[in-house]
């Protein structure tokens, strides 16, 4: 009933509707108001300030983040932001990796890194323990690596094995007779010597490691952001060296992170930047001005890391080698290992310098297997003459064109950019050790446990190669 009421002032009469609306207004003014949608949603953007920005969310970047949080002096003392361009990791080297770990290197530093990584993976449920989460199963196959050497490489292999045994790796040398005895499916023609890793070597599932690291980092309070780093804002300082030369030291104080499919970007104020961008590290370094200068000078020394495409093929061979098969690396550079229980194998081969495939995309070249990989495999393992390729994929190596070893540590001119990249195919197996080394460099100022001074950036300018003989 809608009658216009006039307030008369007498109880029980008059303006009932008006009174109700007045009471409603009073109640509304007391209770909290409606949600205010004035501010836009910025949950996808990174924070505006961060102590450390890690460019690249692969296993190396996450490992550095983990050790930074693990070794910081005060809990919650550092804010770490990991920026990853592709959250599906579709082109990241970590996921596409064969997942092997071995200690059979020629440099003592590489051996020590690999040994530490093996103990990290062995105790992964203590390092990456998160309450409420189930324990990680890395699917580690401790079957070892078997490297074969021809006559001309035998002496180098012997001296390498001596160094490896000195550092504590459990490797043994085998003659062709012993090889035939232990692995009757091998054809030892052309093999003069073999080295076999007995412990701490094998292969595992890299996705599990990535997932475990991400889980642990989220629980430790590390920020993750999906975006691309497009600009570094630096401030410079001119200083005199002891030889009375002028040198310009740069320091990055802001990182611009651009969101996917939009022009929106967020400037992140930061103190330290870590370049763990893998195959694309050179672009990130160029953004910071590394390499912009006359060639031959320190300013003009670029970061010599470029993407190289490598193929991995999976085939089925019912008469192939049995359960005890290690990862066999042939004299020709071809390698293979078992995959699962069902007579499947996977392997590949590094192409020679002149036949390097175009790294613009990750398309697989099946002719490469037919012409360059299969003949060598069939020669070494006669059972592989009848095999059927099931599938194949391609991935990038962050290939260091200078000496095929990693770049670790700060840049001499851009003082707060640290590198953790360029491992040319063994980044995954050295990630825990490298992460710890970079974290020690940042927090303590020098390498504490494993001395990675041969891997600093300076060697590119000084021309000192720390060459590694055994890469696949």
């Amino acid at each position: 009933v809608a009658h216009t009421g006039r307030t008369v002032g007498r109880l029980g009469e008059g303006d009932w509707d008006g009174k109700v609306s007045e009471i409603k207004k009073k109640i509304k003014s007391i209770l909290p108001g409606t949600p205010c949608d004035v501010l836009p949603d910025t949950s996808h953007l990174p924070p505006e300030h961060s102590d450390v920005v890690i460019v690249g969310g692969g296993v190396l970047g996450l490992s550095v983040a983990y050790w930074l949080k693990q070794l910081e002096n005060r809990r919650g003392g550092m804010r770490v932001l990991v920026v990853e361009r592709d959250h599906t990791y579709s082109q990241a080297s970590t996921g596409l990796s064969v997942g092997g770990i071995c200690q059979q290197f020629s440099l003592p530093e590489n051996i020590q890194l690999s040994l530490f990584s093996a103990s990290f993976l062995r105790n992964i449920n203590e390092y990456l323990a998160v309450t409420n989460a189930p324990p990680l199963d890395l699917q580690f196959n401790p079957s070892g690596y078997l490297l074969l050497a021809s006559e001309k490489d035998a002496a180098a292999m012997e001296s390498n094995v001596k160094v490896q045994k000195q550092e504590g790796a459990k490797v043994c040398l085998m003659s062709p007779d012993q090889l035939r005895n232990k692995f009757p499916w091998i054809n030892t023609e052309g093999v003069a010597l073999a080295s076999y890793g007995m412990e701490n070597e094998g292969w595992f599932d890299p996705w599990c490691l990535l997932h475990g690291l991400r889980q642990k980092l989220t629980s430790m309070g590390v920020f993750f952001c999906q975006g691309e780093v497009t600009r570094f804002v630096t401030s410079s300082q001119r200083m005199m060296t002891t030889d009375d030369e002028m040198v310009t030291l740069k320091s990055i104080h802001e990182v611009h992170v651009k969101m996917d499919h939009s022009l929106e970007y967020q400037p992140v104020e930061c103190a330290i930047v870590i370049n763990a961008a893998g195959a694309w590290s050179a672009q990130i370094a160029a953004l910071a001005g590394i390499g912009k200068g006359p060639p031959g000078t320190l300013q003009g020394t670029k970061l010599p890391v470029e993407p190289r495409k490598r193929y991995v093929y999976v085939w089925h061979c019912p008469q192939g080698p049995g359960l005890e098969t290690p990862l066999v690396a042939d004299t020709s550079g071809a390698y293979f290992r078992r995959e699962g229980l069902g007579s499947n194998y996977l392997g590949g081969r590094s192409p020679a310098e002149e036949e390097e495939p175009d790294p613009a995309n990750l398309e697989v070249d099946h002719d490469f297997f037919q012409e360059k990989v299969w003949p060598h495999l069939a020669l070494r393992v006669p059972a592989f003459e009848t095999l059927k390729v099931q599938t194949a994929w391609a991935g990038y190596y962050d290939y260091n064109t200078f000496d095929q070893n990693g770049v670790v540590g700060p840049h001499p001119l851009v003082v707060n950019m640290y590198f953790a990249t360029g491992f040319s195919g063994h980044g995954l197996q050295q990630a825990p050790g490298v992460g710890r080394a970079v974290a020690e460099m940042i927090l303590e100022g020098s390498f504490q446990t494993i001395d990675l001074s041969p891997f600093l950036f300076n060697r590119f300018y000084l021309g000192e190669k720390t060459h590694e003989n055994n890469i696949m």
């Binding site: 309450t131 094998g202 359960l323 005890e324």
Partner: protein, 256 residues
């Protein structure tokens, strides 16, 4: 297939060790009340920092207890010889030891054992029964002191995993009998490294929950160790589906 190998009867009769399997995270499937408790605990963990910190601390404590049990006893080797040092480690863990030509020595329910073995400097240990013991990778340092071990039983050890199996190769000359029955963390990947043990005559791989395909694994292990009698699952187990079960199998969606 080799002729059936008669066991040396070096494995001691079963002792009821109910120390229970260490639950460091969901290896055992809880049922009924335990499930509700677990859900409650998870809920509290997700909502309160204190509960999370307390659980984290308790987990760390459990792990350091295991580390303490597996500390190194190799310093005893100079004084008492490797066999006594290794035997001491096993006895402290709760396992049993048999020296050559002597009887089994095992601790009683209070963990006490007779100290007579300290005198056996030169007598090698023939058999070790480490069932239900908390031996892990580091503890194997002590076990590998026993160079002439012939029979090793690691049944139901909760911390023996694939990494540990890759360490057993130094016992290649002497080890003839190995039992891994009931170990929750051993999978077919660890069994692959047993091919070094060429003198093995009897291998027990029954009841391994982490092995994905027990029948196929048994066949592959038998091919790998031709002179060894492998006791495990009946290899035809996976093939025993009767005709009434076939249609159900084809109807269930194949995981991509």
């Amino acid at each position: 297939m080799a002729a059936p190998w008669v066991s040396l009867r070096l494995v001691a009769p079963m002792w009821n060790g109910t120390r229970g399997i260490h639950r460091l995270g969901g290896a055992v499937v809880p049922e009924g009340n335990q499930k509700k408790e677990r859900k409650m605990l998870q809920f509290l963990n997700n909502h309160f920092y204190d509960v999370e910190a307390l659980r984290g601390y308790l987990l760390q404590r459990e792990m350091s207890k295991v580390h303490l049990k597996n500390r190194s006893f190799t310093w005893l080797e100079e004084q008492h010889g490797p066999y006594s040092a290794g035997a001491f480690f096993i006895l402290k863990q709760g396992g049993a030891v048999k020296f050559r030509d002597k009887e089994w020595i095992r601790p009683d329910k209070y963990g006490h054992f007779s100290p007579e073995f300290w005198n056996f400097r030169e007598v090698p240990v023939e058999a070790v029964d480490a069932s239900d013991c908390e031996i892990n990778y580091e503890g194997l340092d002590n076990l590998l002191l026993l160079k002439e071990l012939q029979s090793l039983s690691l049944q139901r050890c909760p911390h023996v995993d694939d990494w540990c199996l890759s360490r057993l190769y130094p016992l290649v000359d002497s080890l003839q009998e190995l039992s891994l029955a009931g170990c929750p963390r051993v999978s077919e990947r660890g069994l692959a490294c047993l091919h070094h043990l060429q003198n093995l005559r009897r291998l027990d791989i029954s009841d391994l929950p982490a092995v994905s395909n027990p029948g196929l694994t048994q066949i592959l292990v038998e091919e790998m160790l031709p002179n060894c009698q492998v006791v495990g699952v009946d290899w035809a187990e996976g093939l025993k589906l009767g005709p009434e079960e076939q249609p159900q199998d084809t109807a269930s969606p194949v995981p991509a």
